[in-house]
C-alpha cells in the first residue's frame, strides 16, 4: 500500500465495515465478530500510519490526484495520526463493553454499523485538510450519533434527544455560514492554502471576525463555556459504553478542530484572541467542576467533569507556546483514555446492580473489589495524582502558564483539581465504601471481570502514559512543533505532486 493510501485507509475501512454490517443485520454472531475484527485492523492501520509520520513526514492523500488547492486532500501529520490511533484506543474497549451490555433489540437496529460510521466521521475529521470537508465529517459523525442515541434507542429521554439534535443542527448551520464568509473573503477552503493567504492579508481584522465565527462553531462541538449545556443530558441518557466513546472522542474532535484552525489559519493575537481563549478556558473548568459537585448519579458527575477537563485543553491552546500545545495534546489523550475508563467502570456497575445513582448504591468494594480499585486509580488519575497521567498533563500546562506569566489561569486550574478530587471521592465513598447497599437484582457477579476488562486496560494505558511521561511528552512536543511551525505542512500539501 502506498503511503498516500494509508492516509485514507482509516476513513474507508470503517465505511466498508459499516456497509458489511448493515448488510448482515440479521446475523448477530457475524455482526459481533465483524466489528471486533474491524476495530483491531483499524488500530493496526492507525499504528502503521503513526509509524510513517513520527519521523516528521507529512503524508498527503490527493483525491483524484488533483493538486492541492483545487482537489480534496487528506493530511496526516503527527497530531492527526496520534488522534486516529486514539480513536481506536477508545473504540476497542467501547465496542468490547457494547458486546456485553447492549440490548439485543438495539443490536438488531444496526448498532454496530452505526458505531463504525461514527468512527469513520471521527477519523475523517482528524485527517481532513480542508475546512469544508471538516464540516462534512462533523456531519457524518453527528448523523451517526443522532441515529445511535436518540432515534434508535427507545429508552432515550425525548427532550434531551431533541435538544441535542437541534443544538447541533444550529451549530452546523453556523458552520456553513462561517465557511461561506471565509470563502467569500479568502477564495479558498484548503487549510494549507488558507494559511498562506492569511499570512499575506494586509488587514487581519476581518480574519479575526471569521476566526471568532469558527471558534463559536468548534467550541459548541467541544462543549466549551457557554456552549456546553447539550453535553450532560446527552451523555447521561446514552447507553453507558456509548457515553464512554462520546466522552472520549466527540468533544476531542471539536478541540482538535480548534487547535488545528488556530495553529494553522487564524493568528492568535495576544491582546484579543489569546486572552479570550484563556478566560473561556478558566470559566469552562470552573463551571464544569461546580456542575459535577452538585450531581448525584455517576454518569452525570462524569459528564459534567468532561466539560471541566475540556477547559484544560483550551488553556493549553490559549497559552499558545510549544510546551503548552504539547501539554494540551497530552491532556487530550490522557482525558480520552481516563474518562472513557471511568464511564466503562460505571457501565460495569450499572450492569451488575441495575443503577448508577449514588443514593441507591454503597459498599460495592466488598463484593467487587476489582471494580472499586479500577475506579479509584482512574479517579486519582483524573484528579491529577502523581505518577498517573493526569498529573503530568496538569504539570506541563501549569509550567507553560507560569512561563508566560498567566498566573490567574494556572491558579484556577489548580483549584479545579481539588474540586475534581472531591467529586471523584464523592463517587468512591458513595458507591464503593461504607455499608453494602444496592437494589435487589439477581447478581451478575460473573460478568464483572469481562465488563471491567476495557476499563482496566485503559487505566493501564494511563499508568503507562504517566510512567513513560518523558517519552510521551517528547512525542507530544514533536507534534506541537509541527503545529507551531506549519511550513512543512503547507509545503507538503501544496507540493506540485498532482496532475493539473
Amino acid at each position: 500500500m502506498a503511503d498516500a493510501d494509508l492516509v485514507i485507509a482509516p476513513v474507508l475501512w470503517p465505511l466498508l465495515t459499516g456497509i458489511a454490517l448493515a448488510l448482515t443485520r440479521r446475523d448477530r454472531a457475524r455482526q459481533r465478530s465483524f466489528s471486533v475484527i474491524s476495530v483491531l485492523v483499524g488500530l493496526l492501520l492507525a499504528l502503521v500510519l503513526m509509524g510513517r509520520v513520527l519521523d516528521g513526514h507529512i503524508l498527503v492523500f490527493r483525491a483524484g490526484d488533483w493538486p492541492a488547492p483545487f482537489g480534496i486532500v487528506l493530511v496526516a501529520d503527527r497530531l492527526s495520526a496520534l488522534m486516529v490511533a486514539l480513536t481506536y484506543v477508545v473504540a476497542i474497549p467501547g465496542l468490547w463493553q457494547s458486546l456485553q451490555v447492549i440490548p439485543p433489540e438495539l443490536e438488531r437496529r444496526s448498532y454496530y454499523a452505526l458505531f463504525q460510521l461514527l468512527l469513520m466521521g471521527i477519523n475523517g475529521a482528524f485527517l481532513t485538510g480542508d475546512i469544508f470537508n471538516m464540516f462534512v465529517w462533523f456531519e457524518v459523525l453527528l448523523i451517526a450519533s443522532y441515529a445511535l442515541v436518540p432515534i434508535l434507542n427507545r429508552g432515550y429521554p425525548l427532550q434531551e434527544g431533541f435538544k441535542y439534535m437541534v443544538f447541533n443542527m444550529v451549530a452546523s448551520t453556523l458552520f456553513v455560514v462561517a465557511v461561506a464568509v471565509l470563502y467569500g473573503v479568502m477564495g479558498t477552503l484548503n487549510l494549507a492554502d488558507l494559511a498562506v493567504r492569511a499570512a499575506q492579508m494586509e488587514d487581519p481584522r476581518l480574519l479575526t471576525v471569521i476566526a471568532m465565527l469558527f471558534a463559536v462553531v468548534f467550541a459548541a462541538k467541544a462543549a466549551l463555556f457557554p456552549l456546553y449545556f447539550w453535553l450532560p443530558g446527552g451523555y447521561d441518557a446514552a447507553p453507558t459504553p456509548l457515553s464512554g466513546v462520546f466522552a472520549g472522542l466527540l468533544t476531542k474532535v471539536g478541540m482538535y478542530a480548534l487547535i488545528r484552525a488556530f495553529s494553522l489559519v487564524f493568528p492568535l493575537d495576544p491582546d484579543f484572541t489569546r486572552r479570550l481563549v484563556l478566560v473561556i478556558a478558566a470559566l469552562t473548568m470552573s463551571i464544569g467542576v461546580l456542575g459535577a459537585v452538585a450531581q448525584v448519579t455517576m454518569k452525570r458527575i462524569l459528564a459534567y467533569h468532561s466539560i471541566s477537563q475540556i477547559g484544560y485543553m483550551a488553556m493549553g491552546l490559549g497559552l499558545d507556546t510549544p510546551l503548552a500545545l504539547a501539554g494540551a495534546v497530552y491532556f487530550m489523550i490522557h482525558h480520552s483514555v481516563i474518562k472513557s475508563a471511568l464511564f466503562f467502570v460505571t457501565g460495569a456497575t450499572e450492569h451488575v446492580t441495575g443503577t448508577e445513582s449514588l443514593k441507591q448504591l454503597g459498599g460495592l468494594a466488598r463484593p467487587y473489589p476489582a471494580l472499586a480499585a479500577v475506579f479509584l486509580v482512574a479517579a486519582l488519575s483524573l484528579a491529577g495524582i502523581p505518577p498517573l497521567s493526569g498529573f503530568f498533563g496538569k504539570l506541563v500546562l501549569a509550567q507553560a502558564g507560569l512561563a508566560v506569566g498567566e498566573l490567574a489561569v494556572v491558579a484556577v486550574s489548580i483549584a479545579v483539581s481539588f474540586f475534581t478530587l472531591f467529586s471523584m471521592m464523592k463517587i468512591q465513598v458513595g458507591v464503593f465504601w461504607g455499608p453494602l447497599r444496592h437494589p435487589d437484582r439477581p447478581a451478575r457477579a460473573g460478568a464483572v471481570g469481562r465488563l471491567l476488562l476495557p476499563a482496566a486496560a485503559l487505566v493501564l494505558v494511563s499508568v503507562g502514559l504517566g510512567i513513560g511521561a518523558h517519552g510521551a511528552l517528547g512525542l507530544m512536543q514533536q507534534a506541537a512543533a509541527q503545529l507551531v511551525d506549519p511550513a512543512a505542512y503547507i509545503e507538503a500539501v501544496l507540493a506540485p505532486g498532482g496532475r493539473v
Binding site: F132, F135, V136, E139, L142, I143, Y146, A147, P150, I151, G155, P157, L158, Q159, E160, G161, F162, M165, V166, M169, V170, S172, T173, L174, V176, V177, V179, A180, V181, Y183, G184, L189
Partner: protein
C-alpha cells in the same frame, strides 16, 4: 443582486429563528430547515453572483465560480439527512406523547425516569 440575496438570507434567518423559539416541535424543525436554507444561500453568494459563461474555462474572463455550487450540493444532501432524522424523532415524540408540544416531551421524560 448581492443586496437582494443579503436581504433574503437575513429574512430566512429571522423567520427560522422565530420558528425555533416556538413550543411546537414541528415549528422548531421548520425553523432549522429555514435557517439551513439561509446558510446555503449565503454559501452561493460567497462565490460572487456573476452572469457569465458556464464554469468551463474557455479563455474568456467571465465565468461562474463552480466551487460554491459543489459545496451547496453536499450541504443540501446533508441537510436532507439531518432533517429526515429530526422529523423521525419528532414523529416518534408525537406518537409516544400524543402531543406536538415541547413541554409534553419534558413531562413524559420525568415520568419515565
Amino acid at each position: 443582486m448581492e443586496y437582494l440575496m443579503a436581504g433574503v438570507i437575513g429574512l430566512l434567518f429571522a423567520v427560522g429563528l422565530y420558528h425555533m423559539l416556538s413550543r411546537s416541535l414541528l415549528r422548531v424543525v421548520v425553523g432549522t430547515v429555514l435557517m439551513s436554507h439561509g446558510s446555503l444561500l449565503m454559501l452561493i453568494t460567497s462565490g460572487a453572483l456573476k452572469r457569465g459563461a458556464a464554469p468551463v474555462l474557455t479563455g474568456e474572463a467571465a465565468y461562474t465560480d463552480p466551487l460554491p455550487q459543489a459545496l451547496i450540493l453536499t450541504a443540501i444532501v446533508i441537510g436532507f439527512a439531518t432533517t429526515a432524522l429530526i422529523l423521525t424523532l419528532a414523529l416518534r415524540a408525537y406518537q409516544e406523547r400524543g402531543s406536538d408540544d415541547l413541554e409534553a416531551l419534558r413531562e413524559g421524560d420525568h415520568g419515565r425516569r
